[in-house]
């Protein structure tokens, strides 16, 4: 039926439900619905994963999404120090460029630095990014993508509180480094997953309450970190992209195509 009414009815009747762990252990079929009783929200099977179906009841969770189409990059997030808009292409609509050229300087795009407190909610964030030119010894620096609370220049992309990917040639070549940081103490793991200049990568970070953070590149797990997850009362962080330039004058850029994030509080947070 045009408009999908018949399919809709069929899918609702097909919907199943259960806990988060049941959902995570269930492989769905395209378009199937699952009512997640842990999160009190519907999820739909999309190609190879469960994804929130519509906006959840905000008492239980949220879904935010930014395609970076607007002049100030705002859809449902308020990004400060927004990067410059750059041309999109057939598959990458609304692209921003976070670019730093001068050494010992930082350019970043971020939400309020302490807008998120982890510890109770499960949070998944995902962004599609590309690094047009990789750092070299003569034009060096480091990049931060994820959650970080440092808006000042940092040669190795450190922060007080955060959960994030770093690309730092001087530490791990062209390979990603996964990081957590809580009150200035970091845990980081060098991955063996290399970045190819000009290629788009889907970076994902899943934080399960106060337990651990799991990091993904194109849906493939890069490992988990369970220590120094910022979950304490004063350990807030924020969504953050940053280019920290250490040596040379050529631009070190992050192109960001979209950002999305969902969080669920594992219960009703307010009456």
């Amino acid at each position: 039926m045009l408009g999908g009414g018949g399919v809709w009815a069929q899918k609702l009747s097909d919907a199943q439900g259960g806990s988060l762990s049941l959902m995570n252990s269930t492989t769905g079929v395209q378009g199937q619905l699952f009512f997640n009783t842990t999160y009190n929200a519907y999820f739909t099977w999309s190609f190879d994963r469960w994804w929130p179906f519509g906006n959840p009841d905000p008492r239980y969770g949220f879904l935010i999404y930014d395609e970076f189409n607007g002049a100030d990059r705002i859809q449902s997030l308020d990004w400060g120090n927004a990067g410059a808009a750059t041309s999109g292409n057939l598959l990458n609509t609304g692209v921003v460029n976070i670019s730093q050229s001068a050494a010992s300087g930082i350019t970043d795009m971020r939400t309020e630095l302490d807008s998120i407190q982890l510890g109770t909610m499960d949070l998944y964030l995902e962004t599609l990014i590309s690094i047009p030119t990789l750092a070299t010894a003569g034009d060096d620096g480091s990049l931060t993508i994820g959650m970080s609370d440092n808006a000042s220049f940092s040669a190795h992309s450190t922060c007080t509180d955060g959960v994030f990917f770093v690309l730092d040639r001087s530490v791990n070549g062209a390979n990603w480094i996964i990081n957590t940081s809580s009150n200035g103490t970091a845990t980081n793991t060098n991955t063996a997953t290399a970045v190819v200049a000009g290629t788009w990568y889907r970076l994902g970070i899943y934080v399960s309450a106060s337990t651990q953070a799991q990091f993904y590149v194109n849906g493939v797990s890069q490992g988990t970190i369970a220590s120094n997850l910022p979950t304490g009362a004063s350990r807030q962080t924020g969504f953050h992209y940053a280019s920290n330039k250490t040596v040379g004058a050529a631009a070190l850029n992050i192109l960001a195509d979209y950002f999305c994030c969902y969080g669920f509080y594992n219960g009703q947070r307010v009456a």
Binding site: T158, N183, G184, T185, T187, I225, S227, N228
Partner: protein
Amino acid sequence: MSTHVAIVQTVGDLKTKSPLHKGLPGIFPTNCKEYGSEEEAKASHPGKLVMSLEKYQGYAKAMEHIYADVQKKKRWWKLW
């Protein structure tokens, strides 16, 4: 699956202290690595403090209190 944490760097190891780490005691950890066993952690970082993940969570809480105290003192001195 990580089971152990090695504290590979502390404030005492830093040649130059960033504003973030100024005022913190030398034992305050700045960088950790996770490993799947105690043996692996000790072999990778001989001489460094290694503890179970569970124990580290308690240790980190204690360090958090130290960090908070130092930040409070920094704020206090700024007032003067």
